[in-house]
Amino acid sequence: MAQTMLEVDNLATGYGAVQALKGVSLHVDKGEIVTLIGANGAGKSTLLMSICGEPRARAGRVLLDGEDITARPTHEIMRGGVAQSPEGRRIFPRMSVLENLVMGAQAAGQDPATQLPRVYDLFPRLKERQAQRGGTLSGGEQQMLAIGRALMSRPRLLLLDEPSLGLAPLISRQIFAAIRALNESEGLTVLLVEQNANQALRLAHRGYVLVTGRITMSGSGAELLARPEIRDAYLGGSH
């Protein structure tokens, strides 16, 4: 029986009068890659952020390894083994690549010196650029940096928000390959948000479909890929 790493139970939240999530339940098992697909504005980013406590849940619970983290401050959740590469990457533009990476490790209590080689192995490009300011990187490099920075904390659970957005197909394939490699070599557990449903469903063990704040479908990656409504809505019907 697989061990549940993340359990989101009937989570509801929003911004002011906007109800962005209306009771979302999902779970991610240890060692799994789970993807969450959905149209723009469905609430995917809100879900990842709300797992991290910002915006706070208005109803429902978030459990990490069975522990209720719903009411914890964001920084405690992140020190407790969750890391996120957020929407828009949010690289610190006026810090060097190296400093961005060190930021990933320092608060989580990891030694940057031991974590850096792992990240540089995965993304050698970052090593070449380590003295450069974050704001001067290309989109693909920034995405690598955002993921690398998240990995510096040695998370149990990695949350990735649209890592392929705006990237050339070749770069986005590299990023997906890196995610798979991490999952296979380290058993890293990943919750991946994507609009690029085709690639995401091929990579993931399981997937969920989010439509305006509610989960409407779930299943294995292959199952969801085969569903006609998914093909029409998220794959452009051309695959």
């Binding site: 964001t74 920084h75 828009g88 610190f92 533009p93 006026r94 930021m103």
Partner: protein, 304 residues
């Protein structure tokens, strides 16, 4: 020539005091985007704490030598830092996430509270302090005009440089400094990396207040007076320095402080002592109109 050189020395030592205060304005602005109007009064509190410490040391017969000055500085930094921390905790943190003007109004209120508190507890009269550090080094002589670098000015220059060196190291090399810069660039992301952003903001206030207290101590020793209202004018000048240097820029704050000190000193020396404050305010207006991003400020936030 000799006269100008003397003004240069005076201007730099005054400017360093402004720079120390300006760093506190700019640091807080960088991290939480507000002008801490109570910062000038924190400087005033720092001067008063030093005054009390000095008077106690004098009455104990221990106000002798550099060790005593250092002790006064440390005492003043510690207590003033506590004031800075408290101001943030009581008046600003509860308003975080409120509308933008709220902390600004609260800061003006805090400024009045600090002034009235000192006025009531210490009295409204100007407190004199006899010179503690006298004498100096004669640099040059032109006719009967002597250019002198006083020991007091040496103390100002040396201690400011030392404090700023430690501060620079802290900001650029330490985990706390990185966390502060991260909060300044993207506070939400800093939290997503496990940074306790409230604590980091508190520490920025603590550090800013400690720097202001060094300025307060030096100002007290240099000019030999303290009163509850002294933080206003000095605070506005330091704020002007921060704007002139580019609000949010730490080197800019120091540069702006030096420029304001020099302009004020030369203005007083060659034009009018009475109107020296007008010069500073005039620069504030000119800077806001013609150079709103300041000398070392960023033209625009970098797009990511």
């Amino acid at each position: 020539m000799a006269y100008a050189l003397q003004q240069l020395i005076n201007g730099i030592s005054l400017g360093m005091i402004y720079g120390l205060i300006a760093v506190g304005y700019t640091m807080v602005y960088g991290i939480i985007g507000m002008i801490n109007f109570a910062h000038g009064d924190i400087f005033m509190v720092g001067a008063f704490i030093s005054l009390i410490a000095i008077l106690m040391l004098i009455s104990g017969g221990m106000m002798e030598g550099p060790a005593a000055i250092l002790l006064v500085l440390v005492i003043s930094m510690a207590f003033t830092a506590l004031y800075g921390w408290t101001v943030e905790r009581v008046a600003y943190r509860p308003l975080r996430g409120s509308f933008r003007l709220a902390p600004l109004i609260s800061a003006i209120g805090m400024s009045i509270v600090l002034q009235n508190f000192v006025q009531v507890s210490q009295g409204a009269r100007v407190k004199p302090l006899e010179p503690q550090i006298t004498g100096g080094v004669e640099l040059m002589r032109e006719g009967n005009f002597v250019v002198q670098l006083s020991y007091m000015q040496i103390l100002i220059i040396v201690s400011t440089l030392a404090v700023l060196a430690i501060f620079t190291w802290l900001v650029t090399q330490t985990a706390l400094g990185r966390a502060m810069r991260a909060c300044e660039q993207d506070r939400k992301m800093a939290a997503l990396l496990g940074i306790n952003t409230d604590r980091t903001i508190s520490l920025a206030f603590v550090i800013g207040a400690a720097l202001a207290s060094v300025a307060g101590t030096l100002y007290l020793l240099r000019y030999g007076i303290a009163d509850f209202f002294m933080g206003f004018i000095v605070g506005v000048k330091a704020f002007t320095a921060a704007v002139l240097g580019g609000i949010g820029s730490l080197p800019g704050a120091v540069l702006g402080g030096l420029l304001i000190g020099l302009i004020e000193t030369f203005w007083s020396a060659y034009f009018s002592v009475q109107y020296k404050d007008v010069a500073a305010f005039g620069i504030l207006v000119l800077a806001l109109v013609f150079l709103p991003t300041g000398l070392l400020g960023r033209q625009e936030v970098e797009k990511v």
